[in-house]
């Protein structure tokens, strides 16, 4: 059995792909993120992150999102092998 690696969005490297596992946050954040396409089970690719705790840019299907640094730390991703 392989142990899959879990990281949050901040810890991913640009270009890495994975699947959203969960979002640690209240209902407000969860529904906002899910309405924009970030919810468990979705394939996600990190595009880049800005310097100095800047936003993380990700790609989910046809949608590209910029997510604030704090929020990005609460989105957990299972990395693709």
């Amino acid at each position: 059995m392989t142990v899959k690696k879990q990281v949050n969005l901040r810890q991913m490297y640009p270009g890495q792909r994975g699947t959203v596992l969960r979002v640690d946050g209240g209902m407000g954040l969860l529904s906002r993120l899910s309405a924009m396409g970030v919810r468990p089970g979705k394939k996600i690719t990190k595009v880049s992150s800005m310097l100095m705790r800047g936003p993380v840019t990700v790609q989910l299907g046809g949608t590209r999102l910029a997510i604030g640094f704090g929020m990005a730390g609460r989105i957990l991703v299972e990395l693709e092998q």
């Binding site: 529904s31 899910s34 396409g37 919810r39 800005m50 046809g62 910029a66 997510i67 604030g68 929020m71």
Partner: protein
């Protein structure tokens, strides 16, 4: 400057009671609702390639068969739980609608269907416009329309709003709008349903990265992103100056000189070269030469300022801004600026209202509705009205201060920028609360269509011509009358301690500050005949830019911030303007 934003976005915010059927255009942000709206009604509205262009509601009329119906362009929303003012407006509107056209981005079916299903749960008759249909094809996305119609239970019409494709069919489908009324589901149930729909109707074929997409990646990576941003900002600045200066030097100045001057001189002779009417209409004309900047007559400076000094920069600024908007660059700038903007109590997206403010503060303050919290809106609106000079003011600064040397223009801009940063920093620490985090969708780059760029430019220029020029002429007229009746003699002495003592300006400069409440461009122009030193001109321009908003901005601030918020903002403006003006006076 042009307060076009007011007419389209605000005055019509509450629907008039009319017997007409109301058709609402609803959908996620940046799916092209405003373009569909223009196509349906012929009413031109500002449409751009970034989420949150529309922050109020605009209405127009269209014909469905024989019946005239009202169409309402609603701000974009991701769901029916509002997260900002613009989304709240969208929800208020839903209650008033008879039919909804749900505009869906065909390249983003899954995410868009979330709102579609929520709307269906509300039981409003609906049709779906599957917009950007051509783009979906280019991206290798194939959607089975018939199947989607069956699954949703409402008509689905593929459209390409920018070219008009599918609009006729969309209108024809409105009578067929249906309300299947889905049972309200939980979040999870809804997403399961959406997943199943997408699985059944959509096929994606693989295709390669295009060069535009590679550029998209580059502009949000730190090093390439910053390089691109600097190149774009420098290019923008040079482009705006080049177009503006060329229009002035090769078109408008020669027109005034060769066509208008003889007319003015003729009338001047006719009136005998003096008298009250001569003073008001033509101003001071000496030795057969018309000094358009200093004469201050209604037909001389009153026309020269708006047409030959300000208009060229309005044209060049909005041409360049329109290009950046339609390409889709602005949200990328928001990503780059996010960390810095957090220090000012804002997040990156506040850069968009700020940039709009460099054109006109009125639409800029309306655009702060895309920000989530009241605190952010207050900080953003206050910073814009103090430290972001509108295009009209900037044109005058370039025209008058620029004559004394580019270093003086640099001092004006440098001071305003410093004030923007320092005041933002202070407000962030003084006002309770925190700045929310950035969460925005970044649209794909699109190659702008020249036709839409020029239509938008015309919309904005027309707004300036229609709404700013009467105020400019009014301001010159009011000034002349107040001079003639000796009104200023009274206040000039009264305010002299502040104007002369603190700011180091001649006491007559208070007249410019007073007229600044009507129009900032005219006010800066009024510094011209005062024979100021370059340093005084810098102090005068900076204080004018910061001191108090022009009347159009004042009205919008009052409405958007409320009376208390406005009073606070005004107190900050006056205090900061006097402090900075006094400081500059000492330093320079």
């Amino acid at each position: 400057m042009a307060c076009h934003g007011m007419k389209t976005h605000v005055k019509k915010r509450r629907g008039k009671k009319s017997g007409l059927r109301k058709i609402l255009l609803m959908g996620n942000p940046n799916v092209g609702k405003s373009v569909v709206f223009s196509r349906l009604t012929g009413v031109r509205v500002i449409a751009s390639n970034y989420p949150g262009t529309t922050v109020g509601y605009t209405q127009g009329l269209t014909k469905v068969g024989e019946e005239v119906a009202e169409v309402i362009d609603v701000p974009g929303t991701y769901g029916l739980e509002p997260t900002c003012e613009a989304e709240e407006i969208a929800l208020e509107m839903l209650a008033a609608g008879d039919v909804v056209i749900n505009v869906v981005d065909a390249t983003n079916l899954e995410r868009n269907l979330n709102l579609t299903l929520q709307l269906l749960e509300k039981g409003v008759p609906m049709v779906v416009a599957l917009n950007m249909w051509d783009d979906a094809g280019h991206r290798g996305i194939h959607i089975d329309l018939k199947r989607l119609e069956d699954l949703l239970g409402v008509p689905v019409i593929p459209t390409v709003a920018v070219t008009g494709q599918g609009i006729k069919e969309l209108v024809e489908s409105i009578p067929a709008a249906r309300a299947p009324r889905l049972p309200p589901g939980s979040h999870d149930e809804r997403w399961v349903a959406i997943g199943s729909i997408v699985e059944q109707v959509q096929q994606v074929t693989h295709r390669h990265h295009t060069w535009l997409e590679s550029l998209e990646d580059a502009s949000v990576r730190p090093f390439t992103g910053i390089t691109i941003a600097v190149a774009i900002l420098v290019g923008t600045f040079l482009g705006i100056r080049f177009i503006g200066e060329s229009l002035i030097g090769y078109v408008l100045d020669p027109l005034f000189e060769h066509l208008w001057t003889p007319v003015i001189l003729f009338f001047s002779d006719l009136m005998g070269g003096s008298g009250i009417l001569h003073e008001v209409l033509l101003g001071h004309i000496m030795a057969g030469e018309v000094n358009y900047v200093e004469s201050f007559g209604l037909l001389t400076t009153g026309l020269y300022v708006p047409f030959a000094m300000v208009l060229p920069y309005i044209v060049s600024f909005y041409l360049v801004l329109g290009l950046l908007e339609d390409i889709g660059y602005l949200p990328r700038l928001a990503v780059l600026m996010d960390t810095i903007m957090h220090r000012l109590g804002l997040h990156g997206y506040a850069i968009i209202p700020t940039l709009l403010g460099l054109g006109c503060n009125v639409p800029a303050i309306l655009a702060t509705r895309i920000l989530e919290s009241k605190r952010e809106r207050f900080i953003a609106a206050t910073l814009i009205s103090i430290a972001v000079p509108c295009a009209a003011l900037q044109a005058m600064v370039f025209g008058l201060v620029g004559e004394r040397g580019i270093q003086y223009v640099a001092i004006v801009y440098g001071t305003l920028f410093l004030v923007w940063v320092v005041l933002g920093f202070i407000l962030n620490h003084m006002i309770k609360g925190f700045s929310p985090e950035l969460l925005i969708e970044i649209p794909p780059y699109r190659i702008p269509l020249w036709r839409t760029v020029f239509q938008k430019l015309w919309l904005r220029v027309h707004g300036f011509l229609r709404e700013a020029i009467p105020i400019i002429l009014g301001a010159v007229l009011v000034m002349n009358i107040l001079y003639a009746v000796g009104f200023f003699d009274v206040i000039v002495d009264f305010t002299a301690p502040v104007v002369t003592g603190l700011l180091g300006l001649p006491k007559e400069a208070v007249v410019a500050l007073a007229i600044g409440f009507l129009r900032k461009d005219v006010a800066v122009g009024m510094l011209a005949p005062l024979a100021l030193t370059s340093e005084q001109l810098v102090v005068g321009s900076v204080v004018l830019a910061m001191f108090f908003p022009c009347i159009a901005t004042f009205v919008v601030l009052l409405r958007e911030l409320g009376a208390v918020g406005m009073l606070k903002a005004a107190a900050i403006m006056v205090t900061v303007a006097l402090c900075v003006g006094g400081l500059l006076n000492v330093i320079l």
